[in-house]
Amino acid sequence: MVETILSIVAFIAFLTAVIFGGAGVFGLFKFKNPYAKLQSGSLCGTTAVISILIGCLALAPTWAMAARIMIIGIFFLISSPTGTHIVARFAWVSGQLSAKEEDDADFDDVEDTQL
Protein backbone atom coordinates (compact mmCIF):
# COMPACT_ATOMS: atom_id res chain seq x y z
CA MET A 1 0.00 0.00 0.00
CA VAL A 2 2.75 2.46 1.07
CA GLU A 3 4.89 1.43 -1.91
CA THR A 4 2.00 2.12 -4.29
CA ILE A 5 1.47 5.63 -2.83
CA LEU A 6 5.22 6.35 -3.06
CA SER A 7 5.26 5.14 -6.68
CA ILE A 8 2.34 7.46 -7.51
CA VAL A 9 4.14 10.40 -5.80
CA ALA A 10 7.30 9.60 -7.78
CA PHE A 11 5.31 9.39 -11.04
CA ILE A 12 3.66 12.79 -10.39
CA ALA A 13 7.06 14.32 -9.50
CA PHE A 14 8.71 12.97 -12.68
CA LEU A 15 5.75 14.10 -14.81
CA THR A 16 6.01 17.60 -13.24
CA ALA A 17 9.73 17.61 -14.06
CA VAL A 18 9.04 16.76 -17.70
CA ILE A 19 6.35 19.48 -18.01
CA PHE A 20 8.46 22.23 -16.41
CA GLY A 21 11.63 21.09 -18.21
CA GLY A 22 9.85 21.19 -21.57
CA ALA A 23 8.33 24.61 -20.83
CA GLY A 24 11.74 25.92 -19.79
CA VAL A 25 13.36 24.80 -23.06
CA PHE A 26 10.43 26.29 -25.03
CA GLY A 27 10.88 29.62 -23.20
CA LEU A 28 14.62 29.61 -23.90
CA PHE A 29 13.89 29.70 -27.63
CA LYS A 30 10.84 31.97 -27.38
CA PHE A 31 12.37 34.93 -25.49
CA LYS A 32 15.14 37.10 -26.94
CA ASN A 33 16.31 38.99 -23.84
CA PRO A 34 19.11 37.26 -21.82
CA TYR A 35 17.33 37.85 -18.47
CA ALA A 36 14.11 36.34 -19.87
CA LYS A 37 16.11 33.36 -21.16
CA LEU A 38 17.63 32.93 -17.69
CA GLN A 39 14.17 33.08 -16.10
CA SER A 40 12.92 30.38 -18.47
CA GLY A 41 16.06 28.34 -17.91
CA SER A 42 15.40 28.41 -14.16
CA LEU A 43 12.30 26.28 -14.82
CA CYS A 44 14.56 23.51 -16.17
CA GLY A 45 17.43 24.28 -13.83
CA THR A 46 15.54 24.37 -10.54
CA THR A 47 11.89 23.23 -10.68
CA ALA A 48 12.53 20.22 -12.93
CA VAL A 49 15.60 19.10 -10.97
CA ILE A 50 13.90 19.53 -7.56
CA SER A 51 10.92 17.53 -8.89
CA ILE A 52 13.28 14.73 -10.00
CA LEU A 53 14.96 14.75 -6.56
CA ILE A 54 11.51 14.51 -4.86
CA GLY A 55 10.68 11.58 -7.13
CA CYS A 56 14.00 9.88 -6.31
CA LEU A 57 13.37 10.52 -2.60
CA ALA A 58 9.99 8.76 -2.87
CA LEU A 59 11.62 5.77 -4.57
CA ALA A 60 14.69 5.62 -2.28
CA PRO A 61 15.11 1.99 -1.15
CA THR A 62 17.01 2.77 2.09
CA TRP A 63 17.34 5.65 4.58
CA ALA A 64 21.02 5.92 3.61
CA MET A 65 20.06 6.60 0.01
CA ALA A 66 17.35 9.08 1.13
CA ALA A 67 19.92 10.97 3.27
CA ARG A 68 22.28 11.22 0.27
CA ILE A 69 19.51 12.53 -1.96
CA MET A 70 18.65 15.13 0.72
CA ILE A 71 22.29 16.30 0.86
CA ILE A 72 22.43 16.52 -2.95
CA GLY A 73 19.23 18.60 -2.72
CA ILE A 74 20.77 20.96 -0.15
CA PHE A 75 23.92 21.38 -2.30
CA PHE A 76 21.65 22.06 -5.26
CA LEU A 77 19.69 24.66 -3.25
CA ILE A 78 22.94 26.57 -2.71
CA SER A 79 24.76 26.06 -6.04
CA SER A 80 21.96 26.43 -8.61
CA PRO A 81 20.90 30.03 -7.80
CA THR A 82 24.56 31.02 -7.46
CA GLY A 83 25.25 29.99 -11.08
CA THR A 84 22.19 31.88 -12.34
CA HIS A 85 23.15 34.95 -10.27
CA ILE A 86 26.72 35.00 -11.69
CA VAL A 87 25.45 35.02 -15.30
CA ALA A 88 22.72 37.60 -14.55
CA ARG A 89 25.10 39.85 -12.61
CA PHE A 90 27.64 39.79 -15.46
CA ALA A 91 24.87 40.81 -17.88
CA TRP A 92 23.74 43.60 -15.52
CA VAL A 93 27.29 44.93 -14.97
CA SER A 94 27.76 44.86 -18.76
CA GLY A 95 24.81 47.28 -19.05
CA GLN A 96 22.24 44.78 -20.34
CA LEU A 97 18.69 46.20 -20.08
CA SER A 98 15.56 44.21 -19.25
CA ALA A 99 13.20 43.40 -22.13
CA LYS A 100 10.79 46.23 -21.22
CA GLU A 101 13.62 48.80 -20.90
CA GLU A 102 14.96 47.64 -24.30
CA ASP A 103 11.53 48.19 -25.87
CA ASP A 104 11.28 51.66 -24.27
CA ALA A 105 14.78 52.54 -25.52
CA ASP A 106 13.87 51.42 -29.08
CA PHE A 107 10.68 53.53 -28.91
CA ASP A 108 12.72 56.58 -27.78
CA ASP A 109 15.18 56.04 -30.67
CA VAL A 110 12.29 55.96 -33.17
CA GLU A 111 10.83 59.15 -31.64
CA ASP A 112 14.26 60.90 -31.82
CA THR A 113 14.75 60.00 -35.49
CA GLN A 114 11.22 61.26 -36.34
CA LEU A 115 11.97 64.58 -34.60
Partner: protein, 170 residues
Protein backbone atom coordinates in the same frame (compact mmCIF):
# COMPACT_ATOMS: atom_id res chain seq x y z
CA UNK B 1 44.43 32.68 25.35
CA UNK B 2 43.41 35.74 23.32
CA UNK B 3 39.75 36.14 22.29
CA UNK B 4 40.64 36.18 18.56
CA UNK B 5 42.57 32.88 18.85
CA UNK B 6 39.71 31.28 20.77
CA UNK B 7 37.23 32.51 18.15
CA UNK B 8 39.39 31.06 15.34
CA UNK B 9 39.54 27.67 17.11
CA UNK B 10 35.74 27.77 17.58
CA UNK B 11 35.25 28.51 13.87
CA UNK B 12 37.54 25.61 12.89
CA UNK B 13 35.63 23.31 15.28
CA UNK B 14 32.20 24.29 13.90
CA UNK B 15 33.39 23.89 10.29
CA UNK B 16 34.94 20.50 11.16
CA UNK B 17 31.73 19.23 12.85
CA UNK B 18 29.53 20.29 9.89
CA UNK B 19 31.87 18.67 7.35
CA UNK B 20 32.15 15.47 9.39
CA UNK B 21 28.35 15.18 9.77
CA UNK B 22 28.04 15.56 5.98
CA UNK B 23 30.71 12.87 5.53
CA UNK B 24 28.83 10.48 7.85
CA UNK B 25 25.55 11.12 6.00
CA UNK B 26 27.20 10.53 2.63
CA UNK B 27 29.10 7.36 3.58
CA UNK B 28 26.53 5.99 6.09
CA UNK B 29 29.33 3.81 7.44
CA UNK B 30 31.02 3.42 10.85
CA UNK B 31 33.92 1.45 9.36
CA UNK B 32 37.26 2.46 10.98
CA UNK B 33 39.00 3.36 7.69
CA UNK B 34 35.98 5.44 6.59
CA UNK B 35 35.90 7.30 9.94
CA UNK B 36 39.68 8.05 9.85
CA UNK B 37 39.44 9.25 6.24
CA UNK B 38 36.45 11.45 7.14
CA UNK B 39 38.15 12.90 10.25
CA UNK B 40 41.39 13.65 8.36
CA UNK B 41 39.60 15.15 5.35
CA UNK B 42 37.20 17.23 7.48
CA UNK B 43 40.04 18.57 9.65
CA UNK B 44 42.21 19.44 6.63
CA UNK B 45 39.41 21.20 4.75
CA UNK B 46 38.14 23.02 7.88
CA UNK B 47 41.66 24.40 8.55
CA UNK B 48 41.75 25.79 4.98
CA UNK B 49 38.16 27.04 4.65
CA UNK B 50 37.03 28.14 8.15
CA UNK B 51 37.63 31.84 7.31
CA UNK B 52 35.19 31.57 4.40
CA UNK B 53 32.69 29.32 6.21
CA UNK B 54 32.29 31.64 9.23
CA UNK B 55 33.57 35.23 8.79
CA UNK B 56 35.61 36.68 11.68
CA UNK B 57 33.12 39.52 12.27
CA UNK B 58 30.16 37.11 12.54
CA UNK B 59 30.70 36.64 16.27
CA UNK B 60 27.03 36.23 17.12
CA UNK B 61 26.01 32.56 17.49
CA UNK B 62 22.54 33.30 16.11
CA UNK B 63 24.14 34.87 13.04
CA UNK B 64 25.17 31.56 11.47
CA UNK B 65 23.63 28.68 13.46
CA UNK B 66 20.08 28.11 12.18
CA UNK B 67 17.14 27.12 14.38
CA UNK B 68 16.26 23.62 13.08
CA UNK B 69 12.45 23.83 13.42
CA UNK B 70 12.21 27.24 11.74
CA UNK B 71 14.67 26.07 9.06
CA UNK B 72 12.31 23.18 8.25
CA UNK B 73 9.35 25.62 7.98
CA UNK B 74 11.45 27.93 5.78
CA UNK B 75 12.33 25.06 3.40
CA UNK B 76 8.63 24.12 3.18
CA UNK B 77 7.72 27.74 2.33
CA UNK B 78 10.56 27.86 -0.22
CA UNK B 79 9.28 24.68 -1.89
CA UNK B 80 5.73 26.13 -2.01
CA UNK B 81 7.05 29.42 -3.48
CA UNK B 82 9.10 27.43 -6.03
CA UNK B 83 6.07 25.59 -7.41
CA UNK B 84 3.65 28.55 -7.25
CA UNK B 85 6.17 30.75 -9.13
CA UNK B 86 6.86 27.94 -11.62
CA UNK B 87 3.17 27.61 -12.49
CA UNK B 88 2.96 31.41 -12.96
CA UNK B 89 6.10 31.25 -15.13
CA UNK B 90 4.68 28.36 -17.17
CA UNK B 91 1.48 30.35 -17.90
CA UNK B 92 3.57 33.42 -18.84
CA UNK B 93 5.72 31.36 -21.25
CA UNK B 94 2.62 29.94 -22.95
CA UNK B 95 0.70 33.27 -23.09
CA UNK B 96 3.82 35.36 -23.73
CA UNK B 97 2.79 38.42 -21.71
CA UNK B 98 5.67 39.08 -19.30
CA UNK B 99 6.38 42.48 -17.78
CA UNK B 100 10.09 42.22 -16.88
CA UNK B 101 11.71 45.03 -14.92
CA UNK B 102 14.73 45.61 -12.68
CA UNK B 103 13.59 46.65 -9.19
CA UNK B 104 15.53 47.93 -6.15
CA UNK B 105 14.52 47.43 -2.52
CA UNK B 106 15.93 46.97 0.97
CA UNK B 107 15.82 44.07 3.40
CA UNK B 108 15.30 44.19 7.17
CA UNK B 109 17.61 41.18 7.73
CA UNK B 110 20.81 41.95 9.69
CA UNK B 111 22.98 38.80 9.40
CA UNK B 112 25.25 38.44 6.33
CA UNK B 113 24.47 34.73 5.99
CA UNK B 114 20.71 35.34 6.22
CA UNK B 115 20.95 38.08 3.56
CA UNK B 116 22.82 35.66 1.29
CA UNK B 117 20.13 33.02 1.90
CA UNK B 118 17.39 35.55 1.06
CA UNK B 119 19.05 36.60 -2.21
CA UNK B 120 19.69 32.93 -3.05
CA UNK B 121 16.03 32.08 -2.30
CA UNK B 122 14.83 34.95 -4.52
CA UNK B 123 16.99 33.61 -7.38
CA UNK B 124 15.87 30.03 -6.65
CA UNK B 125 12.19 30.86 -7.25
CA UNK B 126 11.48 31.23 -11.00
CA UNK B 127 10.49 34.75 -12.07
CA UNK B 128 13.00 36.61 -9.93
CA UNK B 129 16.82 36.83 -10.20
CA UNK B 130 18.99 38.72 -7.72
CA UNK B 131 21.42 40.83 -9.75
CA UNK B 132 23.18 42.49 -6.82
CA UNK B 133 23.29 42.43 -3.03
CA UNK B 134 25.01 45.45 -1.51
CA UNK B 135 24.73 45.58 2.30
CA UNK B 136 20.92 45.60 2.78
CA UNK B 137 20.12 46.79 -0.76
CA UNK B 138 18.91 44.22 -3.30
CA UNK B 139 18.68 44.64 -7.08
CA UNK B 140 16.30 42.08 -8.60
CA UNK B 141 15.15 41.29 -12.14
CA UNK B 142 11.41 40.64 -11.73
CA UNK B 143 9.60 38.91 -14.59
CA UNK B 144 6.02 39.73 -13.53
CA UNK B 145 6.51 43.33 -12.38
CA UNK B 146 3.18 45.04 -11.65
CA UNK B 147 4.24 48.10 -9.65
CA UNK B 148 6.60 51.07 -9.85
CA UNK B 149 6.75 51.45 -6.07
CA UNK B 150 10.06 49.97 -4.85
CA UNK B 151 8.90 49.16 -1.31
CA UNK B 152 5.78 47.38 -2.57
CA UNK B 153 7.89 45.54 -5.17
CA UNK B 154 10.20 44.43 -2.37
CA UNK B 155 7.31 43.14 -0.27
CA UNK B 156 5.92 41.15 -3.24
CA UNK B 157 9.29 39.72 -4.33
CA UNK B 158 10.41 38.81 -0.81
CA UNK B 159 6.95 37.47 0.03
CA UNK B 160 6.97 35.26 3.12
CA UNK B 161 10.68 34.38 2.68
CA UNK B 162 12.13 37.34 4.61
CA UNK B 163 9.87 36.77 7.61
CA UNK B 164 10.80 33.07 7.80
CA UNK B 165 14.55 33.73 7.31
CA UNK B 166 14.43 36.26 10.18
CA UNK B 167 13.16 33.47 12.42
CA UNK B 168 15.85 30.99 11.27
CA UNK B 169 18.83 33.34 11.74
CA UNK B 170 17.97 36.02 14.32
Amino acid sequence: MRATTLWSITRVAITFVVLFILWLLFTFSLDLFSLIAGLTGSLGISLITYKVFIPAHDASRNGFIPRPLFLFFFLAVLLYQLYSSSIKMLITIIKGNPNPKIVHFRTRIRSDLARMVLSNSITFTPGTITLDLNDDHLTVHWFFCNTNHSKLAGEIVKGQLEKHIQRVWV
